[in-house]
């Protein structure tokens, strides 16, 4: 915990037992021991701080804080106290106090390298870039080591990145940073690779690409050795930004000769080629095209280049690379886009794809590769393509059931790929019910036959024939959605469960089962399925929605609460975790990573899922835990809920959900599009807004209902109340507006792909009338509040209004209730199940305010 190496110091020896108690989690003993020690040695400040740590950890925050401040005001300069206070402040989530601590320490001990560097890191933790810049410089002046100088430079870059005013960044911070580095370059003091990286970063941000290029190509660039191809990658980046297409082309060409499988360079090769063609570029002299070597400027050259690469692969003894063959399809695609007739020189896409299948059809990724270029085939060729592919699959003799089976896993993979391709091409979709059922029989037969190849598979491995099983499930889902026949869904569940019994680690089976059970409203198996996926940490943000979307809405409050908690724990640790590694990045000179880490932290903080679980968690707590009004008010207070505050980043919401986590071989027009993503985010945001406003309204009601004792006598309190009811009024009108937006959104009736994002709860909440019911209940309580202020005598109008509102609310509630009635198994609308309890709370609420 602290520096404990030097046992010779008597204070260290005295403090040691306290450290040990704290380390072992024995906080009470630590406090006792500290007290004992303090009786004898009043001035042993560190003991006080250690006691404070014990107090903090036993929940006595206030006591801990005042004790710590006693020591802090003395401005300690001993290591033990400083380190203990740092730990304490960190646990209190008050990192800004650490800066104060070391500011005082460096003032008293201005030559201490250690304290200066602690001060720098303390500023880094709270993101005080300007002060970091100064602290870095002060440190360098005390101890002239290069890293300290560059900490200061980096802090200037961070000021530029965080500056609201881009002009300030470009005219002040970055130029200053540049000059600081230039000074070191001139004095030939550049030592480390990290320093060159930082120089590059600065030049790049300044848009000084020419200078950046010169630097990377020059002697300083020789230091860039850690990362593979570091110089080449940086040059390429600059060529692209400067639109130096000849250099870009020549470098891509060179890199592809070295590794004909590196896809990014095919893209830059083609990009640059077409730019050069558009500009009718020709080399200034025949000998040297550009610094990077020969440049290719014609389609003929590109065709030859790609064909040569394929021939190279054809000749190879070892396994061929896919790159050149994919590049050939990519080139056809691009030529076609440009309306260039030369594509024929590369051959017929159909034949090329068959050739690709011939070479790579036994690889599981063959489908993923070919999928990208299927649009090169005209629709009338689709069936022909499938049949020709079929000819390339070696199957055994047709048996009694009418099917021939593959003899080994390679043949199986080929057959599978043909099935996948025909699904992607839409050839499965056009089958009628009869046809689909036949297809299912065939796929099932292949599935079962294929299991024999995986008999020796460990339970952590997948079965070779698993994808057949998944496809059977997909076809069943097609049938279910087309015909509404629920029997199909039961069959589908059965086949997936069977699949899981042979392949217990198959995540795709689990994900699909999970989705189907949720859609059915059968939540029981979902928790186990989800936990067997072992989703952790960042996965809470990316796939947690699969669970949290349904747990609450299906009335599984305990499970919901638990899943919200898992997610929340992850998000809350993020802030602390990331600052620690921002500091590490300074220490190791990974300057490029610093803005990346900060962006990452922001991305998590602005996560849609984070805002959702935060809101739902509090709503759920209010609904389930607050039985009597007093505890409701307490709950609101304990949550730190402030109705006036809105902490959701509505304008910068990040949708971190992984919406393609479920495999799909659906045709392109059924795939998830960017538009789907946008609509889903929009819908979820509006629903979140409804929920968050409801929460804030409930909170403000709870706080309002509870100033009754002194309401009429105390003037200030009355003002407080009226301020709160105006908050209430504002929130209510916001809710009203949001509900209007919500109605517009649900009118669109957006359908997402089945395997894409689930629809939000918005539509059912609106159509069930629950949203409006809640809104009127909340409105009613506001009117009641008015009545209370006006007094009973002068408010007959208001009273009639209230009376009517009550009546209509009761009607609404009854309607809602009647919709909730029915057998669960018959009920299609799972959302309704949650309504009664929700409304009870509200009714209850209205009553409390009435009193």
């Amino acid at each position: 915990m602290a520096a404990r190496g030097h046992v010779q110091d008597p204070n260290d020896r005295r403090l040691r037992p306290i450290y040990d108690y704290l380390d072992n989690g024995n906080n009470k003993m630590a406090i006792q021991q500290a007290d004992k020690l303090l009786k004898k040695h009043k001035d042993l400040h560190c003991a006080k701080v250690l006691k404070a740590i014990g107090l903090q950890r036993t929940g006595k925050q206030d006591e801990a804080f005042s004790l710590a401040q006693e020591v802090a005001t003395l401005e300690p300069t001993d290591d033990n106290s400083l380190q203990a206070l740092t730990i304490l402040y960190r646990e209190m989530h008050r990192p800004e106090l650490v800066t104060k601590l070391y500011e005082a320490a460096v003032k008293k001990v201005p030559l201490s390298e250690e304290y200066h560097s602690h001060l720098f890191m303390a500023y880094a933790r709270v993101g005080e870039y300007k002060k970091m810049q100064q602290a870095g410089m002060a440190l360098y002046k005390t101890v002239p080591k290069n890293p300290y100088y560059f900490w200061s430079v980096m802090s200037l870059v961070m000021q530029a990145i965080s500056a609201q005013d881009e002009k300030l960044a470009q005219t002040m911070f970055l130029p200053l940073a540049e000059r600081m580095v230039e000074k070191m370059v001139k004095e030939e003091k550049i030592e480390a690779e990290a320093e060159v990286q930082l120089y590059f970063m600065i030049l790049e941000r300044l848009g000084k690409c020419v200078e950046a290029l010169d630097m990377v190509r020059g002697p300083l660039g020789e230091k860039l050795t850690s990362e593979l191809q570091s110089r080449e990658n940086k040059c390429m980046m600059m060529y692209q930004r400067l639109q130096l297409w000849p250099e870009c082309n020549a470098l891509s060409y060179k890199l592809l000769l070295k590794n004909p499988d590196d896809w990014q360079f095919y893209l830059s090769y083609f990009d640059s080629l077409f730019h050069l063609m558009d500009k009718s570029w020709s080399p200034p002299n025949e000998e040297e095209h550009c610094v990077e070597g020969p440049v290719q400027t014609t389609v003929a050259e590109a065709v030859k280049f790609v064909v040569d690469r394929m021939e190279e692969e054809d000749k190879k003894e070892s396994r061929p690379l896919r790159g050149p063959y994919m590049a050939c399809l990519e080139l056809i695609h691009r030529l076609r886009q440009r309306g260039c007739p030369d594509e024929q020189e590369l051959g017929d896409p159909l034949e090329l794809m068959l050739q690709f299948f011939g070479k790579f059809g036994d690889k599981p990724c063959c489908i993923t590769d070919l999928k990208i270029y299927l649009h090169l085939l005209p629709p009338e060729q689709h069936t022909q393509f499938k049949n020709r592919l079929g000819e390339l699959v070696p199957l055994g003799e047709v048996g009694e059931d009418g099917f021939g089976f593959p003899g080994d896993t390679k043949a199986l993979q080929r057959h599978l790929c043909v099935c996948q391709l025909s699904r992607v091409l839409g050839l499965q979709r056009v089958l009628d019910t009869e046809g689909k059922l036949c297809l299912i029989t065939e796929l099932k037969a292949h599935y079962h036959y294929g299991l024999q190849f995986g008999k020796s598979c460990l339970k952590t491995e997948l079965q070779f024939s698993d994808p057949y099983c998944l496809m059977v499930a997909h076809v069943y889902i097609d049938l279910w959605t087309e015909t509404g026949d629920e029997n199909m869904l039961w069959q589908c569940l059965g086949v997936l469960e069977e699949g899981l019994s042979f392949s217990p680690s198959n995540a795709q089976f689990k994900l699909l089962l999970l989705l189907l059970f949720c859609r059915l409203g059968a939540f029981q198996p979902v928790v186990d399925l989800y936990s067997s996926l072992d989703a952790k940490h960042v996965q809470h943000d990316t796939i947690g929605y699969l669970l949290t979307r349904y747990a609450g809405s299906l009335g599984q409050f305990a499970a919901a609460s638990q899943s919200y908690n898992f997610s929340l724990r992850f998000f809350h640790s993020n802030q602390k975790d990331t600052s620690e590694y921002i500091i590490q990045a300074y220490k190791y000179g990974a300057f490029e990573k610093i803005p990346e880490f900060i962006a990452f932290r922001t991305r998590l903080n602005q996560s849609l899922h984070f805002a959702q679980v935060r809101t739902e968690r509090m709503l759920l707590d209010l609904y389930t835990e607050a039985d009597i009004t007093s505890s409701l008010e307490e709950s609101v207070k304990a949550m730190g809920l402030c109705p006036e505050e809105d902490d959701i980043p509505w304008d910068n919401m990040r949708d971190n959900r992984d919406l393609t986590v479920l495999f799909s071989w659906d045709p392109k027009d059924r795939e998830l599009t960017e538009e789907h993503r946008r609509l889903s985010l929009e819908e979820e945001s509006v629903w979140l807004k409804v929920r968050s406003l409801t929460l804030r309204l409930l909170a403000s009601l709870a706080l309002l209902g509870h100033a009754p004792s002194s309401r009429n006598s105390d003037k200030t309190n009355e003002n407080g109340v009226s301020a709160k009811s105006s908050t209430l009024q504002t929130l209510l009108s916001q809710l009203d507006l949001t509900l209007q937006t919500a109605a517009q959104i649900t009118e669109k009736q957006t359908q997402y792909p089945f395997l894409g994002p689930p629809s939000s709860r918005l539509a059912t909440a609106l159509s069930s009338g629950s949203c409006h019911c809640q809104a009127s209940a909340l409105q009613l309580s506001l009117t009641l509040q008015e009545l209370e202020t006006t007094g009973l005598d002068d408010s007959s109008e208001l009273q009639t209004q209230i009376c009517n509102s009550f009546k209509s609310l009761i009607v609404q509630l009854q309607e809602l209730l009647s919709r909730c009635k029915g057998e669960v198994l018959e009920m299609k609308d799972s959302r309704l199940m949650t309504q009664p309890s929700l409304l009870e709370t509200l009714v209850f609420f209205v009553e409390t305010v009435w009193v």
């Binding site: 593979l228 690889k363 952790k536 975790d577 991305r603």
Partner: protein
């Protein structure tokens, strides 16, 4: 074919198809950030033309140079099921070895579950051999016994006599490995 590039934080939001594998651990954010902050060059991801992540390798350099123990270490290597059988893991290993060569490492090492035959055989094919067995290195959760690990090594060119890979006959305990 694949695009090989540095792993970035944003990739953490996209690696589910790789990490939903039962033998691939999803670590807490600090673990990834630590590697990105300290050894960014050792964290490489490969991306398919369609944008899917295919696999990644995460490693570090550690050990004392004086004791000839300075080496590259493979912390995690995983390839998504649909991108297996392409030699991608071998390619990523080759890159990690190249980086370790440049840093002047004596060898590259890694830990693998004794039961993970597929991986053990692959590493053998890539020139690795079992240096020692580490007892109960992998702690199991659901009541099953803890599992042993092989510590596998491959000598780099700096270790001309290949001293670093001479096997240790007796198994060691996790607390005894430095």
């Amino acid at each position: 074919m694949t695009t090989l590039r540095a792993f970035t934080c944003d990739d953490l939001f996209k690696f589910n198809n790789i990490n939903l594998d039962p033998l691939t651990e999803t670590y807490g954010i600090p673990f990834y950030l630590q590697y990105l902050a300290h050894w960014p060059e050792y964290f490489i991801v490969s991306e398919a033309p369609g944008g899917e992540l295919m696999g990644y390798i995460m490693g570090k350099a550690e050990g004392s140079v004086a004791r000839e123990e300075w080496h590259g270490h493979v912390t995690a290597l995983s390839v998504a099921p649909e991108f297996r059988r392409l030699g991608l893991a071998a390619k990523l290993m080759e890159m990690l070895e190249e980086i370790s060569e440049r840093k002047g490492g004596f060898f590259v090492d890694l830990f693998v579950r004794v039961s993970n035959q597929v991986a053990v055989n692959m590493y053998k094919q890539l020139g690795y051999s079992v240096y020692r067995t580490v007892i109960e290195y992998y702690s199991a959760s659901n009541g099953e016994p803890d599992e042993d690990a092989y510590d596998m090594r491959k000598a780099l060119s700096r270790d001309t006599e290949r001293k670093s890979i001479i096997p240790i006959p007796h198994p060691v305990r996790p607390e005894d490995i430095e």
